[in-house]
Assembly symmetry: C2
Homo-oligomer: 138 residues x 2
């Protein structure tokens, strides 16, 4: 049994069969799925599940901070289940593959007060872009 399901139950998230399969799909994968891919995998485990329910569940997991929403250049957002460990992303500009990476240093510290324009800055998102080994050799 996964940490994620435990945590969600502990936080009072009403557990249903649908929510369970969505959480399981994300928990089992270390890649970054689109909503549609989550739906496909969830359907395999629970054929009656509806697309709207998957979107609802993903939205809630994001609000709860258990899953991160990643906007790429593709049209579809991707969902990153690794929200509990801060990390950044390495994105292949050809095939769209995403990998988690852990750079040195804290980019938040690199933004001096004079460059904050009065914003209350709470978070940074860093995306490295390039070609993955497969696409670079092709």
């Amino acid at each position: 049994m996964s940490d994620l399901l435990e945590r969600l139950r502990g936080r009072g998230w009403r557990m249903t069969a649908q929510r369970r399969v969505v959480a399981e799909v994300l928990d089992g994968e270390h890649v970054h799925l689109t909503a549609d891919e989550v739906f496909t995998r969830a359907s395999a485990k629970l054929p009656e599940i509806s697309r709207a329910t998957v979107y609802n569940a993903l939205g809630e997991l994001v609000s709860l901070g258990e899953v991160l929403e990643v906007a790429t250049d593709d049209r579809a957002k991707r969902y990153d289940p690794n929200a509990h460990r801060p990390h950044h992303h390495l994105l292949c500009s050809r095939c769209g593959t995403i990998r988690d990476v852990h750079p040195l240093g804290d980019p938040l510290a690199d933004l001096p007060a004079t460059e904050r324009f009065g914003f209350t800055v709470s978070d940074v998102e860093v995306t490295y872009r390039g070609l993955c080994p497969d696409c670079a050799s092709a």
Copy 2:
């Protein structure tokens, strides 16, 4: 007359009335417009312009490297005309405002070879997230 139009002409970009207004709209603005906003502003100058033409022109400006495409959490991509000076973005998570910022240091240097997984890394995109002064005080 703008630098941008000169540069485009110099690069052999066939100039039409439509392409001119799209370039002018981007050149005149220091904010980051969506394709739809570009279309609205372009229509004000040239009412017959078509949506498809705006998308075509934006796509070409991006391929030419004259304009940057920025994926935010909103559904619509935004277009950043400030492509010639490297910079990052400061995004208000409530109202969606984007500002250009210039942090210290080079985030590319912060990604050690062991964290590159064989990728040929060519670019980094950094987005700071927080609340702008207006939204923070509201």
